[in-house]
Amino acid sequence: MSLFISKKKENADGYMTAGNKIGFGVSAASMTATWIWASSMYASATSGYTYGISGPIHYGLWGALMILFIYPFGRRIRAVAPKAHTLAEVMYVRHGRSSQLMLAGSNVLGSVISLTSNFIAGGALIALLSPFSFTQGILAVAAGILLYTLWSGFRASVLTDFAQVVAMLGAVVIIIPVVFFAAGGPGLFETGAVNLTPQQGNFFSSDAFMNQGAPYIAAVLAYAIGNQTIAQRLFAVREDLIKPTFITATVGYGATVIGFGMLGVIALYAGITPLDGDVNNLIPQMAVTYLGPVLLCVFFIMILGSLSSTADSDLAALSSIAMTDFYGHAKRKNNPNPRTMLLVGRVTMILATATALFFASGQMNILELLVFVGALWGALVFPVIASFYWNKVTNMAFTLGTVLALVAFLPVRFEWISMDGAVGYVVDVLGIVGVGVVIGLMCFGFFGLKTARIAGVLAMVVVAPLAWGALHDYAVLSGSLVAYSVSTIICYGLSVRSKREFDFATIKERIGDFDAADPEPLDLVPATRQQD
């Protein structure tokens, strides 16, 4: 497929955003495929296995709704910066270098972690289902993804996403019912009920909400806003198709990931114990136990599709950041050379793959990685969103708000300090404010500032009696909420008295294409014929 669309002379803008005019079918497929990564499948099943019947909902539903909640922000971002390549590039024009570097740096970190995570998932699967070793598996996965993405970049990423989403979604349609009936069908719920604790058997489990759902609600909003892979698709899709694209991706992601989480629920009812005590083995184990050779191949392709689609998006995101925010920025006064930009993008892909391969040997817990990355971006959510709507937000407010939020987040999330006494209550108060910020931001995109303020305050009032004295016991949740609240308080406090009023039209004026207009139409013919 990559050869099919490749051109001898690729275009730097096409390499990053495919000319900002992708249609609904490709963009919806790409958004869905990118959002579903191997970790989503594994983590949703883990959630089902750990928290019971409500576990997959607390993983997949909130993740899906976050796609929906960010689309109004996406429309605003696109209206303000229609020709942008990265969100960091926009932040440079809006604020300056420190804001750009924070967004670009966090994306470099996030994408390398994501790449690593997907390589680990691929390597583990190959080691489990084939005679090849884990190391051989990660090498094969990394080389394959790099090869098809290297030449055409984002264009190859989105086109292959379509094939990958067809494979993934098609496999889900078949595999879930097959595993369910092979494991015993409806009768399993009767015979296996003894394997569940009361909390696991409760659809409204507070354990599942507090330990899985609530931290994830907070984390994925950050993940969606800060992530360049999502921003890149936002800048690539035709502007009038943003809404249907996001809605379709919401439904596609939610149903796929929750559906896959049902395998964890089935495993729990069936009394299956994860191999070597590692819950990441649960999914492959279920496949080996209940699927025949043909469906096992379908399963294998599905997992490879999920991890490849996200990994190629990460490579495309990393190359765009290197091309725009590092090389493009350094050469901004001398007109960056689009051909050198392409070289920078391709070298970045190779270096990123090598780095992720190096880290893949660490094999960190996938679920913890996801929460960590989401919470890291939590510090950036309010400053980024406010910067697109409020002309008073300053560079100092953006930078200080984000840095101090990170400083506050780390000791809370990783429990470096004792939460006894006053410290615990301070964390509770910040957490309650964080709830108000999250709810307020969600409402703001759809209903505007007035409704957002009312909803935010109401959320704080409702949550306060429950959270006071208790929230600090949930380190993952309170860490994310503290990041939201601290960045919001600092950013708002430093901006509200600012005399500066930014003109948003400046962004459109200063961000444009790197290439001159491309007169050569892209034909749907093989590259060799195009060269002729």
Binding site: G25, V26, V166, G254, D523, L524
Partner: protein, 43 residues
């Protein structure tokens, strides 16, 4: 939750996924044919 509703709960997701897949494939097919008839690339 009764056994019936638990069964529905497990099996409803593949049905929704199937519907989404149909929407995406139909849109892709339509865009591909349109691009082809206009002599331009999809991407």
């Amino acid at each position: 939750m009764s056994i019936f509703w638990l069964t529905v709960y497990v099996l409803i997701w593949p049905v929704i996924v199937g519907g989404t897949l149909v929407v995406i494939v139909r849109a892709f097919w339509k865009e591909w044919r349109q691009a082809r008839s206009e002599g331009r690339g999809m991407i």
